[in-house]
Amino acid sequence: MLELADVHSYYGNIRALRGLSLSVERGEIVTLIGANGAGKTTTLRTILGLVRPRRGHVSFNGQRLDALATDRIVRLGIAQSPEGRHIFPRMSVLENLELGAFARPDRDGIAHDLERVFSLFPRLRERIAQKGGTLSGGEQQMLAISRALMARPGLLLLDEPSMGLSPILVETIFRIIEDINRQGTTILLVEQNARMALRVAHRGYVIQTGRVVLHDTAAALMRSDLVRKTYLGEK
């Protein structure tokens, strides 16, 4: 469904991705694991066209993405919940969510999905008229994920969805990720909480300094020494 082949991306002169290749099949949850600065977020930004690869190519359902504008890519069915949330601070919770569905024509479907995110995150319904910027950090995280869901994407990119969430919400978030996936959304998940990520994912890639150093099924990665020592914090 999604394919990155030998992708090299730069920030200015800094090489952030050095020949990264990965693929995501329809219906999967795939997780990217790596230290801060390894290139996980850059990978997501490259998929969305926010960073242009200098070499290599990115394709989605057989269509090349690396020359398309970001809004076109989103219309193809890829949505992201970005790290650091990036909600619209001066717009209400409802307006934020409606903007998530900006590219969709189906009014009924939008109304239905609005109900769906409110049932996933009842807290957002309580804050429906509040300005996004006045929400607490965790609430903004819920809003960012919900906004991405409102696009009803075929592929959902989640960047650190558990960051800043209470333990009970972390569990909820991962349960929701599995739910969304069961309902047919393919998910590419970037997480610091590698334990939880590997628990819900089917497959995973370990990224170091801009390339893939290990990829396998989630269960196998859980057993690998590298992952256990470096990313699961086992001693």
């Binding site: 002169n13 230290a35 801060n36 950090g137 609430e139 333990p167 914090g233």
Partner: protein, 654 residues
């Protein structure tokens, strides 16, 4: 002195004589250009250093010029007529008057930023020329009685003409442009010298911190009110010098010389060259002046010549100087598109470190904190802090609501000296609001906050920092375009004493203080594992390093209580472990009290002495970590039933 500098000085000194020998007669124009350069440099303090957009800077230019004109050559009808002051006195009066008006215009703008500030300064820039025009003929009539009739304060539309010239025995200011050139050169050189020293001082760092993030600066101990006022006052004082010399040199001033376009042109010089960089602003001012005075007129001749040669009459009669604003705008648009930081602006990304095909086998983590290296000075400070006053935070009945939402509802919380207290709760429970109230960012509706026996309620954040409370932010708030070292030095701001005069003159006491401050900052950076990164821009650090830099900056304020807002968010287990060790060490070695908001239960339950739980702004539980983990309401609202299983799963493989 470097060879390049010697060449520059010789060139500047020799230039007017070379000009005379060659008969070029450009000294007048160059001197005028230097006055505009000085103005742009003054504006750079406000816009480039402190980040306050000023659209009416020409008003200060006018004030300087008129202070000179009216005192040195009072107009007919003015009360001062017949009592002229010396030029040499007037330039200082002009600078002082400008600085004073800088304070006056600065004061109402303290609460506003960005667009609003720009609009206010725009208004000020419009008011001054109008006031000057109208003060040329003042009549006050009260029911037929005229206490003041046709009083001429400013010369109105005609301005002041002539303005007296400076007098120095044997120096021909009346007939020769060269003395003017040297006078302006001396003033300009002294100004550049003073500005560059201000830039690299405690005050300069405070300006840049305000520019980068005013809230974070306030919470790091920088008083935004006095810092911004100083920017306005000092920025204005340089235009006072420039204006007064301009008036005396031109010998005639009219309100028309200080209109909006002048403000915009000065702003363009700053932005084109690179706001914040003295070299950049000088370059910008030179380019714009040369373009305006030389390139356009010379190109006009060229185009006309081509027009005549080819017989195209449209070209033969063209006057490109009429198009100056067109070319000007076009050039500016191009520079902003191609080099938004300005021609000489600081590069915001590091230079290429083109790989060398480095292939580290393990992920490139930065050096871990050198925990053995707790800076000695910090230890000494901590020991000195044990003065019997028990540095405990005592919060009682703290209440705050935003509109209808109750963020904090009668919350009690005590942090004893040397304790680590965890503050947990569901998202939106009011934890960060609690931090914001304690640190003075938000005023409480009710409740008491005392620290070391004194109330904190009503103090501004920088005053809270001075009392010994430092914080970090949930979403990291560094000063992104300042160096790593400078970020930490801003933390020391409230413990340093140097003033404006100290920053410029650098007496030994200030030099020693600055040297000590740098040593301390480097020791702190080594402690958190960031040594060797002094000159990196904060924004170029990886995420985990940014978190640690924020902690180093907080420690630089010499706190006795540290508030950490989700310090391990976004960190992997290894980084989290190091940070946990660091927190424990701060308590053990420095007897620091720590209040910790954190969602990583392994961290909170591992190092907290006691834990307070908030839900919907209300304290629902307080106790030891063991008690909290069993508390049914906490499990229901926060931990979740899966928590125990998760905790068990985590400890099993060990």
């Amino acid at each position: 002195m470097t060879p390049a500098r010697i060449v520059l000085v010789v060139a500047l000194l020799a230039y007017p004589f070379v000009d005379r020998a060659l008969g070029l007669q450009t000294v007048h124009a160059v001197s005028d250009g230097m006055i505009y350069m000085l103005l742009a440099l003054g504006l750079n303090i406000v816009v480039g250093y402190a980040g306050l957009l000023d659209l009416g800077y020409a008003a200060f230019f006018a004030i300087g010029a008129y202070a000179m004109g009216l005192l040195n050559s009072p107009v007919l009808g003015s009360p001062l007529y017949g009592h002229a002051w010396s030029f040499w006195l007037c330039i200082w009066v002009a600078a002082a008057v400008s600085a004073l008006l800088g304070l006056v215009i600065g004061a109402p703008t303290l609460r506003v930023r960005g667009d609003y500030l720009a609009i206010i300064t725009l208004g000020f820039g419009e008011i001054i020329p109008v006031a000057i025009r109208n003060l040329g003929d003042v009549t006050i009539e009260i029911g037929g009685w005229r206490p003041i009739e046709r009083l001429n304060l400013t010369g109105g539309e005609n301005g002041v003409n002539p303005v007296g010239r400076p007098y120095l025995p044997g120096v021909p200011f009346e007939t020769d442009p060269i003395p003017w050139y040297f006078l302006i050169l001396v003033i300009g050189a002294l100004s550049v010298w003073a500005m560059s020293r201000l830039h690299d001082s405690r005050l300069g760092r405070a300006w840049m911190a305000i520019r980068e993030d005013e809230t974070a600066a306030d919470c790091t101990g920088v008083n935004p009110v006095s810092t911004k006022l100083l920017a306005f006052a000092l920025g204005a004082s340089f235009s006072g010098f420039a204006g007064s010399v301009y008036a005396a040199k031109l010998q005639a001033i009219t309100p028309g010389a200080f209109e909006f376009q002048v403000s915009i042109m000065l702003l363009c010089m700053v932005v084109l060259g690179g706001a914040g960089s003295i070299r950049g602003v000088i370059l910008g001012a030179m380019l714009i002046t040369i373009f305006d005075r030389v390139v356009l007129s010379q190109t006009t001749f060229l185009v006309r010549w081509i027009g005549r040669a080819t017989g195209v009459s449209a070209l033969a009669s063209i006057d490109l100087t009429l198009w100056r604003w067109f070319f000007f705008g076009l050039g500016l648009v191009l520079v902003m598109l191609l080099r938004p930081q300005g021609l000489a602006g600081r590069r915001v990304r590091p230079m290429a470190t083109e790989d060398a095909s480095d292939e580290p086998a393990v992920p490139e983590l930065s050096a871990p904190p050198r925990l053995e290296a707790v800076p000695e000075w910090l230890k000494a400070r901590a020991a000195a802090g044990v003065d019997g006053s028990d540095a405990a935070l005592d919060v009682q009945g703290l209440t705050k609501s935003f509109g209808g939402v109750v963020a904090l509802n009668a919350v009690d919380l005590v942090v004893p000296r040397g304790a680590i207290i965890g503050l947990i709760g569901p998202n939106g429970a009011g934890k960060t609001t609690f931090f914001n109230v304690v640190t003075g960012l938000v005023r409480p509706d009710a409740g008491r906050i005392t620290f070391a026996g004194r109330s904190l309620v009503g103090l501004r954040p920088n005053a809270v920092v001075a009392r010994g409370i430092a914080r970090t932010f949930q979403s990291i708030r560094l000063f992104p375009l300042m160096s790593v070292l400078d970020n930490v030095l801003v933390g020391e701001h409230c413990r340093l004493a140097s003033t404006v005069a100290g920053a410029v003159l650098r007496p030994p006491a200030v030099m020693a203080e600055e040297r000590r401050a740098r040593e301390r900052a480097r020791a702190l950076l080594a402690f958190v594992g960031l040594d060797g990164k002094d000159d990196d821009l904060a924004r170029n650090l990886p995420y985990g390093d940014q978190r640690r830099l924020e902690i180093a900056r907080a420690l630089a304020t010499e706190p006795r209580l540290l508030l950490l807002d989700e310090p391990t968010a976004g960190m992997n287990p290894r980084e989290t472990d190091t940070l946990t060790d660091l927190i424990g060490l701060l308590r053990r070695e420095l007897s620091l009290s720590i209040l910790l908001i954190e969602h990583d239960m392994e961290v909170v339950m591992g190092i907290s002495d006691r834990v307070t739980v908030l839900d919907y702004g209300t304290r629902i539980a307080e106790g030891t970590p063991a008690e909290i983990q069993r508390h049914p309401r906490v499990i229901e609202a926060y931990l979740g039933t899966g928590y125990e299983a998760e905790a068990a799963g985590r400890s099993a493989p060990r």
